[in-house]
């Protein structure tokens, strides 16, 4: 029963969602679907608490045992505490005839300032690493070793140059428009993205969609249970 019960729940809830798509006006099915969705949201929200507890416990353990790098765990705990303290509380303010709820994340609040002045720059910094890693990956990997690689290299350079105004300026300066039927470089870049790239994207997406349908069916019917930790169906 330990193994059958989750599969039964999975099957029943999955079929409810599926049937609702075709018969949304049936109150019983639609109502059941809404109940399942609400339960799912509630469960996921409580699961977040589970994750936070796991994070706090594992970091506290490292601090108390003074394991290697425990200062960093202490910084994490302090940051968590300070952000939580300032972001969660809220109060009501009367403005005119209405009461407005000022949350800890509203503009001007300390929580908002922490978000904009600490989290935002840190997050942007991490994302900006992509630019540097693209440069190093491109330097390492974009080598014309064979015909396919050369074609890829050529089209990548055309798309990159066509995406920026400087590329168009260089293109016009060297009068390269005659190579592509008097079209500018932006047109060439858009053509590459519109035609061959879109075609390959659609092909991969079609394959992925079929894969999703097949995998969903296998999970719904209990054929694939490897995510439960079982290998046999």
């Amino acid at each position: 029963m330990r193994r059958q019960l989750p599969l039964l729940v999975l099957f029943f809830s999955g079929m409810t969602m599926l049937v609702d798509y075709f018969f949304p006006e049936t109150p019983l099915i639609h109502g059941t679907r809404e109940v399942f969705l609400n339960w799912g949201r509630i469960a996921l929200t409580f699961a977040m608490i589970l994750g936070v507890m796991n994070l706090l416990i594992s970091n506290l353990k490292k601090v108390f045992l003074q394991q290697s790098g425990w200062m960093y765990n202490m910084i994490l705990l302090l940051s968590f505490g300070i952000t939580f303290w300032y972001s969660v509380p809220f109060h009501f303010v009367k403005s005119g005839e209405y009461f407005s709820m000022i949350k800890g994340t509203d503009a001007g609040s300390t929580g908002f300032n922490i978000f904009m002045n600490v989290y935002t720059p840190l997050s942007s910094t991490m994302f900006s690493l992509v630019a540097f890693f693209i440069a190093s990956a491109a330097f390492r990997a974009f080598r014309a070793k064979n015909i396919e690689a050369t074609l890829l290299l050529g089209s990548a350079i055309l798309v990159m140059l066509g995406s920026i105004p400087l590329g168009n300026s260089l293109y016009d300066r060297f009068h390269l428009a005659t190579w592509f039927g008097s079209h500018n470089l932006s047109w060439v870049a858009n053509f590459i993205q519109d035609v061959p790239m879109s075609a390959s994207q659609r092909a991969i997406n079609l394959g992925v969609a079929v894969g999703i349908i097949s995998m969903s069916m296998k999970i719904l019917l209990g054929i694939d249970r490897s995510y439960f930790g079982e290998g046999e169906s």
């Binding site: 589970l50 991490m126 693209i134 079929v210 296998k218 054929i223 490897s226 930790g229």
Partner: protein, 255 residues
Amino acid sequence: MRDVQHSTVFAAMALMGAILFYCILKAKKGALPYIRTISGLKAMDEAIGRATELGKPVLFISGLADIDNVQTLAALSILSHVAKKTAQYDTPLIMPNVASVTMVTAQEVVREAHLQAGRPDTYRPENIYYVSDEQFAFVAHTNGLMERVRPAANIYMGRFFGESLILAETGHATGAIQIAGTAETPQLPFFVVACDYCLIGEELYAASAYLSKDPHQMGSIKGQDYIKILMLLLIVVGSLYETFNVHILAHWLGG
């Protein structure tokens, strides 16, 4: 059905389901289909072996989506296989998680794998932990982990977004062998460039069948191929129809 669009969807779903069922039943009777070699999956054992020889851990990342995403489920299927191998070889498996439900499921998957491998004593739940729901907080932690711990094998399976290149490049810099798999088409180029092996699109979904060699699952892969052939025919016929201004097919498909 409310309108012609939904009836088309129902008919398509019924047809695809019938094809998949037929192929699964056929495989169950013993006619196992041939699945071509997927180099990324074949290399997984090699990667784990390398980590064992070097005495370094294996890092597994199941993507940045929650458990309700199909890619995460596919990743957990692969985790089951990886966990079994690492249990057999007594190699540490580290798995930071972006979602707490995924963490709990992954812990269960790895625990089961250790049990099946006959090594329940080597299971370490503290190696499968929650980091943060925030994308770049998770990436910052994982990058630091890679730099400090220096895993010998990095396996990225699941749904990834803009952090894919950051993870893959950092892993490359540490000298790890890297295997990636995602159905997110914008991230595929980054993984292809920075990783040693890459599973593209539906290869991620086929991984469970490929690794388990389970007849039911292998039959479903064959069924997927038949469905794709049908789609191809539909595209060719549809293009010809539209070229000659015949719109019956487009109307029937809800266009």
